[in-house]
Symmetry: C2
Subunit: 407 residues, 2 copies
Amino acid sequence: MKYFALSLALVLLGLGESAHSAGAGDDSAPAASNVPGAPTPAIHPDRSITFTLEAPDAHSVQVAGGDGLGKGPFPMTKGAEGHWSVTTPPAVPGFHYYWFILDGVSVSDPSSESYFGYGKETSGVEVPEPGADYYAIKPVPHGEVREMWYLSKTTGEWRRALIYTPAGYDGNPKTRYPVLYLQHGSGEDETGWSRQGRAQFILDNLIAEGKAQPMIVVMDRGYAAKAGTPAVKLAPGSSPAEIKPGFAAFEDVIIHELIPTIDASYRTIPDRQHRAMAGLSMGGMQTLFIALHHLDMFAYVASLSGPIVPDPDSKQPLASTPPAPFDTHTAYEGAFSDPAAFNSRVKLLWLGVGTAEPELFRDRIGAAVQALKASGVRVVYFESYGTAHEWQTWRRDLNDLAPRLFR
Amino acid sequence: MKYFALSLALVLLGLGESAHSAGAGDDSAPAASNVPGAPTPAIHPDRSITFTLEAPDAHSVQVAGGDGLGKGPFPMTKGAEGHWSVTTPPAVPGFHYYWFILDGVSVSDPSSESYFGYGKETSGVEVPEPGADYYAIKPVPHGEVREMWYLSKTTGEWRRALIYTPAGYDGNPKTRYPVLYLQHGSGEDETGWSRQGRAQFILDNLIAEGKAQPMIVVMDRGYAAKAGTPAVKLAPGSSPAEIKPGFAAFEDVIIHELIPTIDASYRTIPDRQHRAMAGLSMGGMQTLFIALHHLDMFAYVASLSGPIVPDPDSKQPLASTPPAPFDTHTAYEGAFSDPAAFNSRVKLLWLGVGTAEPELFRDRIGAAVQALKASGVRVVYFESYGTAHEWQTWRRDLNDLAPRLFR
């Protein structure tokens, strides 16, 4: 009978989505990032967050996470029957990765959906931003996010890319579209922009309002190692020269495999005037590394919170202080050395950063923008007010960037 | 500097995909279900599996999971520097959910991708089946899995369905396709068939070999509650009558919302001869509940390990023993009462079960098949040898079922 009951529980489990009752007081609501029916994490009106975990036998439970959650880890308190809980200080609006530290081990919250970050499946909590609905799903025509697999000769592996096709793509089989190649950050993967970033809803809304051109968005996996070679192993303190082989392999994938595959599989406009590359953090580094080397293929280039690496062959640790000065004549192998030529060729150079990001990002991106502007290079600079090196910065970035593309 | 280093770690993390070295001895290989670079779980040639967890401060760690892993939980042993490990007995081939029990709390393995099961994100381990490659990704033309959102008036919520379109769908804009509606099991969601089930690769391979008709496959979320009503709460011991409101709400969604949306959005052949419904476990129950009530809409009906519920209004617990006899005259509101009429109308009735499944599934499905055959109802019965109430059963089921559809 035990087995029978167990099997029955398996059969019935999941039908039992409970009503979304608050688990943390009447003024709170379950986060949209929870699994269906889970009452916590619960967001209070002041954006403080209540986290809970049932752990009768645990000795210590803490919650920790992304910068916007505050300076954790936050110790949780054991209540009746092993119910641990804590209400953290008001959080910055947006999406924050988080995890529990359960007797010393970082584990996901069984109440949260999971999101690929930090190189593994990670919990996330969505804190609504008052008045901001540009990333909400709305009753407008929706595009699709499609899973596409392709065999890479460069890496010797099957790779998955996610492809956003705009509303109307299927219904207008003669229409061709421009393409944005949009990269995730380090520790994340090809699912980041659609799951954490809600890129498809941002685009759906912009396109429905006539603010952005209908476009295809290609979200590929930003890791690559040439077949037969070990994957690039990096650690804090790695230098651009050490990073380069991984970026170079990814460059080969995107230039020689992904773009031809996309142009053959989707109704693209396959020229540089209708092709953009953008990425966040590591993806921003990759965008500058790759697109500035291939301006014959991209007319739009955007780095979202991407660390500035003027010299990809530098053996200095990426984080060395003071940073090397940004010399517009030599940076990125001289891509900016002739501002007039650059301006006539590149329709958009876009750099952005959150005002709450660390110096590595904020100061260096700001310095590069200043130097570029002083030299006469046309650059759009966007600051996301009050947000850290997190997804709300990059959602805002995309909302600013997409309308500027393919005009 | 601490913050700086932390940020840099964030930037660089994830580039460091290590080579796939075994973490459990030279004869083992990391499971394909691991996050990239994670050496464990590692599968040995005899299909025993080594699990590890770094947990220096933990007092007790066990691993537990699906039936095919063996009779757990398996206690793990603490080694040097808090490295816990265990090698479990040889597992049944296929995909098994699993989790760690860390000081009494069930948590996911940070080394595993996560898969939605048991109503939450759950770890999974893929154990290769010797000689079976029908669910492998191969160099054949690939279809796409697309994410489609639709607003349900029935439930008052945005719902997501995943849609498989076969290879060539975009390239042949005048071709129309039959549709299989394919449901997950309880505790799972709309991602189950593509992630755990690898349905897209099974279909790609069958279609490429000419064994199955090119078809669209719609994988919807099997949970629904009418807007303004609480979700149906179930527990082991619930009766069909208690389950019914949730199934009835889902019936409204699929019949009145999903099918019209699919027929309007994709190039379907919108008639019953070109529409099938199938599902596993709870999804099989739903298929029999819904499709047998709407034979004007479905000509193909398949229940994969679906508990047989002859009377949807029964107030007897689903698991009550002995089960009510399967009376072909009254079961499913008389759908089978005229075998000749049923046979001429329904092109395929397909029932399947794994030989290692519990009685709830095996005996009742077998008894129903016997009774149906004795009454003259044409039914295909498929047994998956040696597999339990797990995904390898359902992969094999789909591989048998899909070639029989739309002939």
